[in-house]
């Protein structure tokens, strides 16, 4: 709001307050419990593309200050609550991601994350769409595409799961994407990601909401693998105006698979020369005692949602203060 006049600062604050109220009302009406999870954690997310901030905490009785990480999402403690029988829950609050600053990113930003027991991925997609239609206040067009269909429809790639790196590069050339530096010629996964971000995503949700689902299994993160097709994961993303708004999963349930995926991420971190991070042992213990109840969960960027609702070009314009203002 630093770019606006004083009058519109007050207006923007009110509209943002109204959005938070609308979001909470949506969940209260569905008997979903709001939870506050800790921002600090002795463990960090091992995902190679997420960078946690860390801080030093003085604890009485300890000679040395202890390292704690600021959460990049409330996922792990929320899952511990689910294992402990919390039932449906949501979190609406700040999260932190180091290094992310752009018109669509702030290091400190507001996330809405929620978990619904007994929901399939498709049930949760419907609920996300319902929420977006409530906030964006329109019965807008909704497009549901599988990841594979999106590559067919928007990039003319018949089957992205079997396409080669060369086919992906040819697609980028066909759509006149500027030259890309630093990617190995045969790195199929990265060329595929570039087709998604440089060719497809900017055209998703142009006149409504687009949901992509069934992402490749290698990008499952903590989503279940499809029973019918082990190449695909029960993961979805939601786009409006070419911008990713939400990322959801039909959640993994058992402790061993979590352990396995975490260790794969640690391995990947080592290969990229990134420091190892302590894994969330308490989450793994909780899952080992009681597997996660069958549920689906999703995280949604509230600053992006507000920017879309208000037609702002930079999410910072909808925040009281951005990183550069504090």
């Amino acid at each position: 709001m630093t770019v606006s006049s004083d009058v519109s600062v007050a207006e923007t604050l009110k509209k943002r307050s109204q959005l938070l109220k609308t979001l909470r009302a949506f969940f209260y009406a569905r008997s979903v419990t709001e939870v506050e999870t800790p921002i600090l954690s002795s463990a960090a997310v091992p995902d190679v593309h997420l960078h946690s901030l860390s801080t030093q905490v003085r604890i009485p009785g300890e000679a040395e200050k202890q390292s704690f990480y600021l959460h990049t999402s409330p996922e792990y403690p929320m899952k511990r609550l689910l294992c402990n029988g919390s039932g449906d829950i949501f979190y609406l609050g700040k999260v932190f991601r180091d290094g992310d600053l752009s018109p669509r990113h702030q290091v400190e930003f507001t996330m809405l994350e929620w978990y619904r027991l007994g929901f399939s991925m498709f049930d949760l997609i419907d609920e996300v769409i319902g929420l977006l239609q409530t906030v964006l206040n329109k019965q807008c067009k909704v497009e549901r595409l599988s990841y594979r269909e999106a590559f067919q429809a928007y990039a003319d790639i018949e089957d992205i799961f079997t396409a080669t790196a060369a086919e992906c590069r040819a697609c980028l050339a066909r759509f006149k994407v500027p030259e890309v530096l630093g990617v190995e010629e045969d790195d199929k996964a990265l060329w595929e990601q570039l087709v998604l971000t440089e060719v497809i995503e900017s055209r998703l949700g142009r006149d409504g909401i687009t949901v992509l689902y069934h992402y490749p299994a290698r990008e499952a993160a903590l989503a279940q693998i499809c029973v019918e097709d082990s190449m695909q994961a029960e993961r979805f993303e939601v786009f409006v105006n070419g911008m990713e708004l939400a990322n959801g999963y039909h959640e993994l349930a058992d402790s061993e698979t979590y352990q396995y995926r975490f260790e794969a991420s640690l391995q990947q971190r080592a290969e990229c020369g990134l420091p190892a991070v302590p894994l969330d042992k308490r989450l793994l213990q909780a899952l080992a005692q009681t597997p996660l109840p069958d549920c689906s969960g999703v995280a949604l960027g509230v600053d992006r949602l507000f920017a879309l609702q208000q037609g702002l070009g930079d999410i910072r314009q909808g925040m009281a203060f951005g990183l550069r203002d504090v």
């Binding site: 995902d47 570039l194 971000t197 990008e219």
Partner: protein, 188 residues
Amino acid sequence: MASYSTNEFKGGLKFLMDGQPCSIIENTIVQPGKGQAFNRVKYRNLVTGRVLEKTFKSGEKVEAADVIDTELQYLYNDGEHWHFMDPESFDQYQTEEAAVADVSKWLTEQDMCTVTLFNGQPISVTPPKQVTLEVVETDPGLKGDTAGTGGKPATLNTGAVVQVPLFVQIGEKVIVNTEKGEYVSRAK
């Protein structure tokens, strides 16, 4: 040679691409929630002036370009080279036509210019925003029109041609905006 990682990219950063000095105009980070980050970079080749785009995988490095902007005095043109001097150190620089091609028509001896040096060699010259030049040729007729409703072309002593009001006569000095190539006013 110094280098910059993509996380140091920002507007104005000077780097080498294919051996040519370039300056970043716009750097946008593409950070998917679950995926490799990239930097979408729009930059200007400082030799050709062309604006180009490339996408860098985050963590990639580029070589730093030894590019500085410095204020130099234009001395003279010997028919092949344009000569400039640092008024404090008296260091002299000479440049070929390419670096001054678009702006040579605004250069008057003794004027201070912003000269961009790459590895100590001038690659581009920015003339002062406003220069005072003499009208050497223009249609002398149409006296008495002071309302400035029309205009006429006038050739200036450097060879530049600009539109001037009808009352401007041969031998008069005029102030010209070099960015727009437009007449500003008569000079006293």
